[in-house]
């Protein structure tokens, strides 16, 4: 099943990478902050979409995520409301799934590796929700490694 995933993830060195994957290959991305000092993750948020008619190229994927902003933002906010106060970072990623009217399945997942970041997950999810369109528009084409 074709997949499109929006992700935002923070590194221990303060860098934050945001991007869009198509079938697990990053096609659009943006990196903020210091790079490549320490690549270990502190937290991540994924918006994982799967369905038969998802776009297959980068720009179309960005536009699809913008067009479906309303249910995706609602899912991000709903997951923010469900993060337990005393979330144990060793637990599995938290997830919330919704099915869109067009048959696409959307799963929002979030995870943190330390308690401090786990406590911040609701705010991080809401930040992604509030800035959804701006985050999408800020992404550039990813160069092959």
């Amino acid at each position: 099943m074709p997949t499109v995933t929006f992700f935002r993830q923070a590194r221990r060195d303060g860098g934050i990478r945001t991007g869009i994957d198509i079938d697990d290959q990053t096609v659009l991305s943006r990196f903020e902050g210091p790079e490549d000092d320490d690549p270990t993750l502190l937290w991540y948020i994924d918006v994982r979409c799967s369905g038969p008619r998802l776009p297959r190229d980068a720009e179309a994927a960005r536009q699809w995520l913008e067009r479906n902003a309303k249910p995706i933002v609602a899912a991000l906010e709903a997951l923010a409301d469900r993060v337990p106060t005393g979330l144990d970072p060793s637990e599995s990623p938290l997830k919330l799934s919704r099915r869109l009217p067009n048959g696409v399945s959307v799963t929002v997942a979030c995870s943190a590796v330390r308690r401090a970041e786990a406590r911040s997950l609701p705010a991080i999810l809401r930040n992604v929700a509030i800035n959804w369109r701006e985050r999408l528009r800020s992404l550039g084409m990813t160069q092959a490694a």
Binding site: D13, D24, T26, P39, T40, Y44, D46, S92, P93, S111
Partner: protein
Amino acid sequence: MPRRVLDTNILINFWAGKVVRHRAVDITVRDAAAWAKELIELQGTDAILTPIYIEYVCGQGDENWMKLARAYLDEFDIVDDGRILPGDWKVATQIAHRILRDRSPRQLGDCIIRAICKRLHLEVLTADRRFPN
């Protein structure tokens, strides 16, 4: 490139959580592959690196566990394609030369994993708080 790679301890911890509910003789290669797919689904990535693969198989103590480990690992994608470049070793050596704040020793695997991540612009999901920084 994928969005993140899974460190050895993530693979081990997930496997350990599954194995504890089964008798060793009952675990099949099909179980191993299914558990790998479950972890991939959970964390949203199937990416690992060559040193992670090697670290994992190094921990296997008999032929049955090795067979299961290989079935488990076969579900993951080794995104460096087995290529560790001279520049990776140079960066790994620089990381190894750094004395950590807590004066703890660095591990070869962690140093080379971090060097490959730097080259490929990857992040690593790890439960290891001693990953060199």
